[in-house]
Symmetry: D2
Subunit: 342 residues, 4 copies
Amino acid sequence: MIKIGIVGGTGYTGVELLRLLAQHPEAELTAITSRKEAGMPVADLFPNLRGRVKLAFSDPAQAPLSQCDVVFFATPNGVAMTQTRALLDAGVKVIDLAADFRIKDIAMWEKWYGMAHACPDLVAEAVYGLPEINRDRIRGARLIANPGCYPTAVQLGFLPLIEAGVVDTDHLIADAKSGVSGAGRKAEVHTLLAEAGDNFKAYGVAGHRHWPEIRQGLSQLAGRVVGLTFVPHLTPMIRGIHATLYARLTQEVDLQVLYENRYRNEPFVDVLPAGAHPETRSVRAANVCRIAVHRPQGGDTVVVLSVIDNLVKGAAGQAIQNMNILFGLPERLGLDQVPLLP
Amino acid sequence: MIKIGIVGGTGYTGVELLRLLAQHPEAELTAITSRKEAGMPVADLFPNLRGRVKLAFSDPAQAPLSQCDVVFFATPNGVAMTQTRALLDAGVKVIDLAADFRIKDIAMWEKWYGMAHACPDLVAEAVYGLPEINRDRIRGARLIANPGCYPTAVQLGFLPLIEAGVVDTDHLIADAKSGVSGAGRKAEVHTLLAEAGDNFKAYGVAGHRHWPEIRQGLSQLAGRVVGLTFVPHLTPMIRGIHATLYARLTQEVDLQVLYENRYRNEPFVDVLPAGAHPETRSVRAANVCRIAVHRPQGGDTVVVLSVIDNLVKGAAGQAIQNMNILFGLPERLGLDQVPLLP
Amino acid sequence: MIKIGIVGGTGYTGVELLRLLAQHPEAELTAITSRKEAGMPVADLFPNLRGRVKLAFSDPAQAPLSQCDVVFFATPNGVAMTQTRALLDAGVKVIDLAADFRIKDIAMWEKWYGMAHACPDLVAEAVYGLPEINRDRIRGARLIANPGCYPTAVQLGFLPLIEAGVVDTDHLIADAKSGVSGAGRKAEVHTLLAEAGDNFKAYGVAGHRHWPEIRQGLSQLAGRVVGLTFVPHLTPMIRGIHATLYARLTQEVDLQVLYENRYRNEPFVDVLPAGAHPETRSVRAANVCRIAVHRPQGGDTVVVLSVIDNLVKGAAGQAIQNMNILFGLPERLGLDQVPLLP
Amino acid sequence: MIKIGIVGGTGYTGVELLRLLAQHPEAELTAITSRKEAGMPVADLFPNLRGRVKLAFSDPAQAPLSQCDVVFFATPNGVAMTQTRALLDAGVKVIDLAADFRIKDIAMWEKWYGMAHACPDLVAEAVYGLPEINRDRIRGARLIANPGCYPTAVQLGFLPLIEAGVVDTDHLIADAKSGVSGAGRKAEVHTLLAEAGDNFKAYGVAGHRHWPEIRQGLSQLAGRVVGLTFVPHLTPMIRGIHATLYARLTQEVDLQVLYENRYRNEPFVDVLPAGAHPETRSVRAANVCRIAVHRPQGGDTVVVLSVIDNLVKGAAGQAIQNMNILFGLPERLGLDQVPLLP
């Protein structure tokens, strides 16, 4: 059994880790911390866990994190970077679900996240935890930077096109739509049901923190810096991301075959038949990315549709997938939930 | 492995049976029928099942149902009663998720369901599949009448009060609220998102088919015919039933102790601490009924709050619970999904 | 033109007052205050008002409220009571949309609202602004206590029964369901879309501040203290209240005729035909209460269904109705919006 | 007073015409037809109209349409073209809210709409009713082709860029999101709340009927055939369209000034300040298009955000705007509803 610690378990990625780990046959939940809720049984905060998770939140200072095999950080940005070195030194593997280790360019990170980075050397060591690209490097890592939700959907959608070198990478467009759980479990006016319900809006058009992360990933695939326009939107649903991607073809290619071949052996990427339109609910609660590729009217513009559950393949599920790889477990272990429909 | 047939698999109880059975370690999905969709892979209709259910719908006339160990009817009312005898004769157990075998009084059934009953003798034999009341009789049954969704939430809520004989059973009130999946996967105007979204209404106040079913169950508990006012409402959500129950106390009793004692050993009924308010999402996607009991301002009116997922404990999950009992399996087998929150 | 001031215009009752007053032919918006947003154009906070409301929020200390003809308080409880006397002394009429002047029993108010009352004498003077009961007294008032949202729906629903003396008033039950805008425009976790969406729950079963208000109103109608069980619920929609009311008949009466006669001349109460089920969307955005009365299976339990838009007839619209009465204007003036459906 | 007939009043554009016309000071509702609901009072089908619209549906064959001044067709595609000539001959003006007269290229229309056109000569005569482009021609017209919902949002968004000739018109991209009322009031499975709720999907990527309409409009503006990729999406809300538009700049221009100047005198187009993100709810229930223009990171890609209420500026409101122009009334008459927020 793998002893597991979770730092910062009161948000949506925290409760989702607990939901999934409670059913994982090799996971032993050992500690979950929250400064604010220390002492409260986890199931009092999250009633879905009643009878399933017996742990209480413990104070971060007293939690036996260094005795865990792996610690997940489900904290705000800037927390993991202050605690990771001590854990690594104690032989604990770390998977950060926040952004602290995602951007290799430290100056870039500091600009977008508005703080100085506490451990640039660990950024260099960290492996970006997108298994479809980095599976081999994940296997031997100590520290995983778990990708953001938008970056997962967008990178998996563009990946085959860019690897194959068949599109103009100077003008990629990602029009992405997210459910409100992506904004987290924070008391804010703009994500109230009375504000975000029955409403649709774009946000962050001038700049969103996932833009440099996506651009970094796509640039690595392309071997050169790509040009990317990224427009996120808030849609009145709880879970799910739908990325609609646009690129201009620079050479002829059978797109359906390209995608099917690239993802044939991926356990968590499902290429839909030609002509299909994936729905976010088809992946609700499950660690899957479903993708369809289109070429409307046979023109030179490719349209890729890519959907994930932002809390699963976009966060907690992918983190557990990374854990499975890190510990040599079958990659699907504990991640075989059937999506919930309706 | 238990060979399983499903008749009528294109509705919400059908897809929910498939979601749950696909993860059940003793279930072998053998046949699923649909006259209309015969030949179509199930996963083409329900994309959440891609990669998880390989069956295609087969024509009812050709499906090998008589070779199954158990057949679930997820059909409209009136279908199961025409096919059940042949299956029972072939040694197949039958679990009907529709209403054909729920009401013992044939005349009453025929009045509320508007058709003649095809096999009154089988109604007499059928066991009403509410395990919290009938577990022993379910064990030896050939034919299970799986309860309706409202009846499950309402009966489990009232049960301890009525068994204990502490309330006036002439004037029970059940104010129940359901998500729209309770209306099924039928093309109808009134359950369109543009009609039922951002809207709340009562319906069927003059009479709803679940009224005689609930009244029958409560009357059996009470040992006399109870008086019941039942008002169902449609609420703009997908899954979930919330029943708010009102009864007048006729003697002093510690309500919290009464409920906790009654359900202490029930695997799928969770009595919340005093003062709690169960939310429908705390049972979403799981086979659980959560109940809280209140006595506002210490008056003589008891208020019981009872929530279920109408498609799980209110339909497919309870049917599998019954299957587990019928076949001597652990009652929780394949039913340990953690509810989905958020 | 009536010069109008609004104190506390950044919440939902504030923006709704502005929406309605912007179209009122006799209203001249003169000042709107907000300590926090002073200086900001109202339309920057509420983009629906762009081009329609030119006012900016002004600091409460500097706003020319004493030069208004009427001031609306759209503030949290406890604010209006500290500012009302000075306004009345200056000859300004006051309509409080909060609860400061609703409860005549000061001790009761102080218990439920958790603070000392600043001006008990003005509570005695204030007229409870439910025109269907108090129209004549409103006409001559200086100070109006605008009713709460639940109290409006529940009192209008029970009113004919209690006035006629045909029900047992010791055991009234009000099962009420509200959209989330009733909780206001405050940053809170439990009303986030990711929390309150696709979810249903009761709250405040042990006690809700609207319980003493409703009880007071019904007791005045009954001429004796009534017994009331009041259970509010949160439903995943933005606007609307649906009250389902239960009472036991103590004598025979033609319920449909009773309701139609009582409300025949009321401009904003609509009694539906026998057998109908009012939907909240049928009153969305409009100052209407629609009511249907049922007697299921001809028993002795009456079921009344009463719907309003909590922000209109349950708050801002009713406040303007009161203003129209106060100033001798036609009661419908500026309140003839057709409900929005779908 | 203008005598008004409506053909086909049982859908969402029909009820929205009624809502708006019931408040229009110059409109006299004279006839509304429905084959299926003939004889039923309109307010029985649409309870929001109780007390506001006294008309009953009349049989199309017997309705006094030829005595009207203007007839609106709120019918499925293919109906208006069979009845328009007779009305025009009788001196009645016709505004078709369906697509019968929108596409000038008859072969193109017949391909996309799958039927032969009944009156190609009237297509040639019809004026495309987008007042921001065609106001002068609308003034003298007999027959108006009211634009589609997506085409309104997309054309108004692209218009200033294309008129100014500052973008590459070979590769325009319109990523559009619609609430479900855009699919109409038809009983269909895919727009049930249980299907479309808490879900997001693209549809019609290979081809949607609004593509040729948008392309025609933009090509007329550009003076040459444009290249357009159009991807519509279904979003879980009732009303609203959000179009996110992408184009590549071919020359330097002050985008904010360009948009503000173009729409300065338009009564129903609101250009937001630089950096803004319009929300669909900011136009809910009102005849407004709000637009913001962005240039992320100062690159060469322009992003335009354009929102409308699909039933108002995208259908019924625009039709009444056209009526006002046709009859020489002030363009805003009866169209001054303040948007509903929250």
